[in-house]
Amino acid sequence: MDGDWQFQYAKNPAERPVGFFEPDYDRDHFFTIQVPGHIELENFSQIHYINTLYPWEGKVYRRPAYVLSDADTGAGMFSAADNNCVGAYAKRFDLEEPLRNNRVTVQFDGVEQAMYLWLNGHFVGYAEDSFSQSEFDLTPYIQDTDNVIAVEVFKQSTAAFLEDQDMFRFSGIFRSVRLTAQPEIHVNDLAIHSTVTADLTTGHLAVTLQLNDHPAAGTVSLTVTDDQGEMVAEASEKATEQVHFGDFEVANVRLWCHSDPYRYHLQLTVRDADGAVLEVVPYDFGFRRFELVDKVMMLNGQRLILNGVNRHEWNPDRGRAITQADMVADLQVFKENNINAVRTCHYPDQIPWYTMCDEAGIYMMAETNLETHGSWQKMGAVEPSYNVPGSVSQWRDAVLDRAKNNYEVFKNHPSILFWSLGNESYAGEVLAEMNAYYKRVDSTRLTHYEGVYRNRAYADRISDVESRMYETPENIKAYLDDHPEKPFLNCEYMHDMGNSLGGMASYVNLINQYPMYQGGFIWDYIDQALYVTDEVTGNRVLRYGGDFDDRHSDYDFSGDGLMFANRQPKPAMQEVRYYYGQYNN
């Protein structure tokens, strides 16, 4: 469904084309927009960069609902706002032959920031969480030909309080959209439980499937092979709503790690009652053992050293609508420069990136799409008099849903070592619940959260690691010398804004001094700047916040990468390559 869509822009909800989703609505005057892409980069909406403060700073006074008072519902705060732009997207399509007579869904990989969906005039659903895939069942309303799918995208919603990441503030359908057809027996969910015994010799595998409700009669078979095609596990079960395989024991298991990202090949084959193949699910997975031993993070019995970077998805022409080629290029840069870990700051990345990191042996910190620093960090000071989610029960479900999205989509990736609760969202009961959620559903990974550093009352309930940002080597030593409870990592360090990466030795030297010091993630991988045509010279030049008359802005503060925005390395990269090369295992 990528490509041209019909598009109408409204600068606020009051001016939006009400009813545009009706099949016979006159959309002849609509513009054409490319999906995936940002509305701002098509010059409908103003480009705006801002860091911590909310994007309406200086223009609208807002407090999140229920935070200062239970009576404050915040109704209309965004839907009646005069500065909340709306994109109306529509596309006519015929269902391709192979998709017909099946259950049909549509998957939106990323829509910022709130979307309503209609098909053929029928309301289908609503979604938030800009960086998670939203899938909708279209079956009740789909036709073989002449369908009209319509999406109304609001730039801001209550989700805006939860998505205050330090980045250009875009909107629109910025990741791919596709239709899927599902056969009468369909694997809705695959959960691979792969563990390794303490002696690191034997793997255990259990696989749980969720099929569609009331599946037809049939079977699901599973095979697991190694990279030589040798069968490791094999089983077949009757198709029921939940199917369980295993426990299988894998002797002399080959473990997955950075230097040897070895994966086994799992394949599911779904057959109907006559034995005809309905669906095949291939999935490569790994065995690895990640645990705390004497308060030190150990991977497959080795102390973990994180030579990491924080990576925003960025392309200077396309913003966050990056391409596969961008991802391939980034992994090549990682390899060339001894970068072994990535934090998906500060939201889930495109789905293929996780598989690519599995293949490349990159350790991942998979971060939940949550950042609320505008609500509690004001001009650099901790000021949590109003903050979300805090311990506000009305915000609980919306926040926990983001963790569930992150876990369920990415749970089978060996590359993920950490579930990160989000970035800079202070700490309260809701984050403690999120931590508990990840611990409950996954015993093979650690939880990570830096913000509890700002509210030590939750130290026992949030984060398996002591994580800080931009901490000095001296203060890290002080922590490690003082009978620490948790291993230390820098979730952000070596802030590489412009020409400012130096003194890395002071951090690297801690590796030999303190077993509980385990490295970190440089801030950050790539400058966020946008190519525009220079109005004076006609040359393509890189622009940053404030260069679009956008206010309030944080200007060049998004230029902190090891790479320039156009993916050329900064001179400091050789320093990173040198130091990260010393502990690259």
Binding site: L53, E57, G58, G374, E383, V532, D549, H552
Partner: protein
């Protein structure tokens, strides 16, 4: 019920004070330490926060008599002075510097008749001193500006004292009521008072780029642009902003460059491509002298003492 006499909506932000008035919207940034956004009729007029300006690009006379060496710390102050205090007054009520949690009592519907915000800048000179820039937004949306310099014994003479506005795109020209030609305190006699139109942003092509384009004794200047940096703005219609005298005439220059950009160039062709409008509004301007260019000073009456207070005011209208 709407009160028809209170036109200004005040937005108590977490890092800014927003003030929306008739056809205008101002954002005063606590982080940037000044007026960050000045929007009139939907057009942004600021590229960077207006800052006190002290430097002028060294004239040949300054070079000859060593003035720039003697006053070099004002170059640093021009570049690096910074905001140290903010004070807000709404409808004659002093609010100090209200930020959360104090601002949690406000709403999105706060109205006022007048809003005053003062930014105090500390110079990087030795010894230090302060300059306070006070903005007052009036009920009709116009902006009053007062710049107060605190005299400080021991500081070298000032090259200039003004407030520098850097606008996002080049002006197509400006109109002013004042004196003809390029004037300085010790070079005003030949000028004719009147209203003048200047096309573009001409830089006087002195063989070596230096201070130029000053206009003394001005009642009003109107700068006109036709482009913005807003990526959604395709309207190329001219739009204007005026600076108008209040208590006394002011001096100004309207150039595409800052003093530092001029200072760095040895030839006109070394100046960068024209991208911005740099409007300096001055309360005090040093004379240019002229007896010789190998040592003679500007006459004493045209020096600016840094040891005494200076203050000037003007207003901005869309």
């Amino acid at each position: 019920m709407a009160n028809t006499t209170t036109n200004l909506r005040v937005i108590f932000g977490d890092g800014t004070l927003g003030v929306a008035g008739p056809a205008c919207h101002y954002i005063f940034s606590y982080e940037r330490g000044g007026l960050e956004s000045l929007v009139q009729h939907g057009k942004e007029w600021l590229y960077r926060t207006p800052m006190p300006t002290f430097w002028r690009a060294t004239t040949d006379n300054d070079r000859g008599n060593g003035f720039s060496q003697d006053s070099a710390m004002w170059l640093g102050a021009d570049l690096f002075s910074h905001c140290v205090a903010v004070a807000i007054n709404v409808d004659d009520q002093d609010l100090g510097w209200p930020i959360a949690p104090e601002t949690n009592r406000f709403s999105n519907h706060e109205w006022a008749e007048k809003v005053q915000i003062a930014f105090t800048y500390q110079t990087t000179t030795v010894p230090k001193t302060n300059v306070t820039v006070t903005y007052q937004v009036f009920n009709d949306g116009h902006l009053g500006v007062t710049v107060h310099y605190d005299g400080q014994p021991g500081l070298p003479e000032l090259p200039a004292l003004g407030l520098r506005f850097i606008m996002p795109t080049p002006a197509v020209g400006f109109d002013y009521t004042g004196l003809s030609g390029e004037t300085y305190p010790d070079r005003m006699a030949g000028a004719v008072a009147g209203t003048y139109h200047v096309v573009g942003l001409p830089v006087t092509p002195y063989l070596r780029p230096q201070e130029n384009g000053m206009h003394m004794a001005t009642e009003a200047v109107t700068v006109t642009r036709h482009t913005t940096l807003n990526n959604t703005d395709v309207d190329a219609t001219d739009f204007s902003l005026s600076v108008v005298q209040t208590t006394a005439p002011f001096a100004f220059s309207c150039l595409p460059y800052t003093a530092e950009q001029l200072e760095a160039a040895d030839h006109i062709e070394e100046l960068p491509a024209v991208r911005r409008t740099v409007l300096g509004v001055y309360g005090a301007v040093r004379g240019v002298g002229g007896i010789d260019s190998w040592g003679a000073d500007v006459e004493p009456a045209y020096h600016i003492s840094a040891e005494v207070d200076h203050e000037f005011s003007f207003e901005i209208r869309g």
